[in-house]
């Protein structure tokens, strides 16, 4: 059992009457790949938002590598090594795909030069050993976006925006990556190729990943562990084979037919 790098202890969050999270307790082991499932409004994104600092839990503690990050702003959490992608890709819409990545590496360059005004775009980023431009081109290629590199992001197709969004998150070389519905808005044909590619990159980088997903096929295929959310609670936390057979999960989230279908498929494989 590899070491625990992220722990969420007894998180509660409510918006007025709505309870978005109640008594959430999760430990995340280094290198694991976890799927977060649940119907809309079950509290998946709230969970992600709390960990990544967009929301502050009403109660509870989040620690990352032993550091309490509960009330840190997103940028600090990112600097510590937790990054995320978004359900609706969050891009810089007036820029090209390449520039979007250059911004990400530029931010790192600034951090490493302590934000000096003289920081040059051409210089090599010490900890990466490459220049911003090189790094940007490299990841553009790695994520198969070369053909889009000089297009304004606002005109990119949905799937490409998703990938770029994730590529940007990965550019910070996070220890933990959250993917918020990576396949939503991606066509059925593309989704597996895309996920294969992304998961490959993530595995190579040795990044721990938690992904919010509605598509049970995707969940089965990539996750070693599933957290099932319902009305802000975690109603199941186990290996997908077991979690997806859990009555309440079947009742509230997956629905029997789909479950059988998915599990059947898996046994064929």
């Amino acid at each position: 059992m590899s070491k625990i790098i992220l722990t969420a202890h007894n998180l509660n969050k409510s918006f007025g009457a709505v309870t978005a999270a109640s008594e959430i307790n999760v430990d995340v082991a280094e290198g694991s790949c976890i799927g977060l499932i649940g119907t809309n409004g079950a509290g998946k994104t709230t969970f992600v938002n709390m960990i990544t600092g967009y929301l502050k839990p009403d109660t509870g503690v989040i620690t990352f590598n032993g550091v309490d990050i509960t009330s840190l702003p997103p940028r600090k959490i990112t600097q510590l090594g937790i990054c995320r992608s978004f359900q609706i890709p969050q891009l810089y819409n007036t820029m090209t795909a390449l520039e979007n990545l250059e911004v990400s590496f530029g931010i790192i360059a600034l951090q490493e030069s302590k934000g000096a005004l003289t920081t040059s775009s051409k210089a090599i980023i010490p900890s990466y050993g490459k220049t911003i431009r090189e790094l940007a081109l490299e990841s553009i290629e790695k994520y198969g976006l070369l053909q889009y590199k000089d297009q304004a992001t606002k005109i990119l197709p949905g799937g490409v925006r998703k990938v770029l969004d994730i590529a940007m998150a990965m550019s910070t070389r996070p220890k933990i990556l959250f993917l918020d519905e990576p396949t939503s808005g991606v066509s059925a044909e593309e989704k597996f190729d895309m996920m294969d590619m992304i998961m490959q990159v993530i595995r190579d980088a040795g990044t721990t990943v938690l992904f919010v997903e509605h598509d049970m096929e995707v969940v089965m295929r990539y996750s070693q562990r599933v957290l099932a959310f319902y009305e802000g609670k975690i109603i199941a936390d186990d290996h997908p084979d077991i979690a997806l057979k859990d009555d309440r999960v079947l009742k509230y989230i997956v629905g029997h037919s789909q479950a059988q279908h998915v599990l059947a498929e898996k046994s064929d494989a």
Partner: protein, 298 residues
Amino acid sequence: MSNLLIVLIDGINYAAWLFISAVGLTLIYGVMRVLNVAHASFYAFGCYVAVTLAGFWFSHNYPPHLSFFALFGASFVAGFIVGWILERFLLRYQYAKDEVVILLITYAVFLILDDVLKLIWGVDPYYASDPYELLGNFSVGEMIYPNYYLLMVGAALILGLGLTYMLKMTRSGKLLVSVIHDREISSAMGINVGRFFSLTFSFGCALAAIAGGITTPTISVVPGLGVDVIVLSFAVVVTGGLGSLPGTALAAIIMGVVRSFCVHYVPQLELFVIFSVMALVLVFRPRGLFSLAEARKI
């Protein structure tokens, strides 16, 4: 020294004037997210229309007590028409632009209209104080006030409550509120957003003009009298929370009363009052007293 009642009366009276002057601005912003600098020109326009009509009215000895309706009505209509033209032929094509750019467009319009007014009415001051004196006075202790102040307070109340009623109760009001909350959805639901916009804008301009009309009998109408009003109105509207009627009302009252206190007790501070209040409020409530809620971004 002066007793509080007097201070309060002066404060309320000034507050009423501030509210009347600012309400059009906040309405337009609330609905269209347009901060209309030309508001100043419409205020001035209202003044000129009213003062001209008043001169005509009283020289022809029409029934003096009807003059109020004539004055206010005239400036309202005039403001509405010009406002409509402005929206229809210029602003309508700019909504895609950035909030601040639209603001600059209205600033340019303000510069232009200001000179247009000068070309029409020249630089001579006009006044029409008959309506002001018509109503006689009331007195608090031995302090005499013209009843016209009551009329201004009344006008402020009517405007405030009337608008609230329109937004809350009437059908088109409710539709308008939905437009305020989400343009795209509303137009998807088949609401003619464009029409609401031109109506709102014209109406807002009409309110600015009527504010001028109501003020006219107490002042002398001179070139450039809008400039001061627009800056004050900005302060009031922003302090109240852009686009919020109750906010505007509350801000007007606070500013009016605070100012009146200064005038009576520390006249030296009068000059800073308004903007200090504004800055203070914004420091503690960055989006003003009654700010519109913001939607989740991610």
